[in-house]
């Protein structure tokens, strides 16, 4: 496991000095947020819930919008934050005072970029300007989403994604403003 190798490297470094590393593997298990399957489910669900119809039976979504949506879906405690942020968009003064925790944080979610790149390579999406459009293997997304519904997997994340339908996400927000 990559994680184990990293630990060994770290242990080696520490041992090269005078430190005596004691590793408690219980405490160093990586978060489930960094699992490929989990993130694919979330991206597929975000797409299935929020994508809009596009040419000839295709569907599409703004890449940045998808990035923001999946970021919040994985962190449900950010829903009130994004709601306040959205409500403040029309008012310059409020916008300055509105919560700052979320702004631009999602822009640094590199793992999402990797997952999208993987799904593009898999043919689930293809890129068209700033959008992601359903690709030749788009049924993969549908299958992942319907499996989640059928087996009641990740229900909180799905609920968050549904709540986000009612929250207006502006271009300014997608740029982190």
């Amino acid at each position: 496991m990559a994680n184990d190798i990293a630990l060994e490297t770290l242990a080696g470094l520490l041992q090269s000095g005078r430190a005596q590393p004691v590793v408690n593997p219980d405490r160093v298990a990586p978060s489930a947020v960094y699992d490929l399957h989990y993130r694919m489910f979330i991206v597929a669900s975000a797409f299935e819930i929020h994508a809009r119809p596009y040419l000839l039976g295709q569907r599409r979504i703004g890449a940045s919008r998808l990035k923001l949506l999946q970021f919040v879906a994985v962190r449900p405690w950010l829903v009130p934050v994004i709601r306040k942020w959205s409500e403040a968009q029309g008012y310059a003064q409020q916008s300055v005072l509105s919560p700052q925790q979320l702004r631009r944080g999602f822009l640094g979610d590199e793992m999402h970029d990797d997952v999208v790149a993987f799904l593009v390579a898999r043919g689930a999406f293809y890129r068209m300007d700033a959008h992601l459009v359903t690709g030749v293997n788009a049924e993969l997304l549908k299958r992942l989403y319907s499996t989640g519904i059928e087996h009641t997997l990740f229900s909180t994340a799905l609920q968050v994604l549904r709540e986000l339908i009612d929250i207006r996400i502006t271009n300014g927000m997608l740029e982190g403003w």
Binding site: M1, A2, N3, P25, D26, R27, A29, P30, S31, A32, Y34, D35, L36, H37, Y38, M40, F41, V74, R75, P76, W77, M111, D114, V115, A117, F118, A121, R122, G123, G135, V136, N137, L140, R143, L144, T147, G148, H151, L153, F154, S155, T156, A157
Partner: protein, 670 residues
Amino acid sequence: MIQLTEIEVRGQSEAGPFAGILTLSSGLQVISARNAYGKSLAVTAVAWCLGIEAVLGNLDNDPSCFPEAAREELELSGRPSARVYFSECSIRLVDENRRHLQLTRAIKGDSTTVRVREWSDAGETRESKLSARRQTMQDEHGGLQHFLFDWLKWPRERVATFRGTPSEVYLENLAPAFYIDQNEGWTNVQALQITRYGQQEIAEISVEYLLGAIDALRARVARQEASQKAMALRETARELAERVTVAFLRRGWRVDWSGNGSISDIVTRWSSRTVREALKGDANIDLSVEEASLDARVERLRKALTSEPIDPSDASATPAASQRVINLKQRRHKLSEELHTLRTQRNLAAELVSNLEHRINAATDLLRLKTTGVGRLDHLECPTCHRDLDPATFALTAQSSESISTHIEALKRDRELINKNLYSIDANMEITSSTLVEIEDELRDAERALVNVTSAIGTVREQFAQIASDLNRAERGLERIREASREIDELQNAVSRWSNEVSAMSQLGVTTPDSNRRRSAFLDALRKYLIALGHSAIRPDNEASLDFDEQYVPSLNNRRLRSLGSASDKSRLVAAYSLALAAASQKIGGLHPGLVILDEPLQQNPDTQHRELFMAFLGQEFAQEAKFQTLIFTSLTQDEIDRLRKQGTNVLIPDGDHFLKSVPASPLPG
């Protein structure tokens, strides 16, 4: 031991009166008639007259267990269908003392009551009308089951229920062991047992009752009640601990008085120190010392106010009163700040717990996905070149199930830690809030005292005002301590009462009943009947391995017998179990009524081997010489009837095409 001597169904139809009578004798008898003759009507009439229709899945007084012929429309031989105006059935029983009993209940008509006629060979007759179902056991004068238990000289036994309310053993709990109905009765041992009454372990209790193992039954019920009582005591302990904690926190004292853990843990903990000792140990507060100290102060101040000399040159009263107000205001400000910080911490901790909950749920779902493979994509290929896509190329990894499990465990530990933290914050908030209330109170007093002192003219009057205010404060403090003392004494009494209840419960003492003899007799009889009926899993060489588990479920080499052998062995097991219970009870003087009804045992498995095994059983002396009455309702061929009769088996062939026949008009009895 009783014997069923007659079953009768009669009534009035559009085409005139009709009736069907079956006269029965003692011992084994096979009642053979073709299908659709009306055998099941006769069998149902037995359950109906005994008021145990619940075993057939019917609601109270609902006669829908009877065929239409007895309720709605009847087709008498050679006549068109005729509407039934009225119908009823009756059974006759006789016991070993020649006491006779006839139970009659309407099928179409008022089915809520049963007419009872008792008589003896000496000729004394008594008639009564009893309620079939409503308060059937509880009504001492009008309940049918109450009467039947008396008549049968059966003891009334209390049983525990899952609802916590007491119940008792009813006839419908015992009947599934000797009344095997053709539709459901053969599916399992005691298949007709009633579960909707919520009685605990009722199947086992029924066996013990019929075997006469009343000591074992009572011990079982005592164990169940003790277990229920223990649950209630644990709940009381938690409530009591909460009361103690809240009472202390309200006064700003933090004391560890937990009600968690097993009853013995709580008893050990609570008996190691009293509530007062806990207060002294954890919060360093000795109420008696506090009370004595305040008492002395009150006495001193009273003396200073009334008899001691006042120094006229002492001008410190006003600055002291003023300083006290300032100090209290500063303290109030500090406490408010602390409370604000605690509230913020609490919100953050609560949010953290909620986040952790979400993360645990997500990780648990992910683990389910990994372990069950639901929606997992193990094979991912490029749609253009069809080569496998390696996630590592995209700097992505899929975690192992072990890694996810470890992560979940770590999250759960974090949640536990934060929850403890939350509990601690709550306790601190409670203490700070109550201290703040006290400070507010003191501040009001101090401000009032300052007004009085500053209004006074001259140092002597200023000092008087100051002493009076101090005295007032000390007296109120003393009152508070005494009130706390009283509340702690009350709590201590509640704790002691709880401990006494626990001791009383442990002295309940489950008796050690000598039920082994009865159990062994049942087991011996079951072995014999299983072999006689030809159960394929039991042979003379392995019969010794047959045993009962705690629930009287037969097992062979620790495997349930029900899951061994062939499919047709299930009905042989049911028959053997019912017959063995009757035989064992008869041998050891149990409470079994001495009557076993097997309805259509041959229809359960229409294979020739099953039929042949059963015929062989009926022809054996072992079956024929049983001391109890066995009624087998079935349909035999003429060859089979001849064969059984030749072997000495009593085969009864009722006459006519149907059980119910047209009869000459005569006034209906009763």
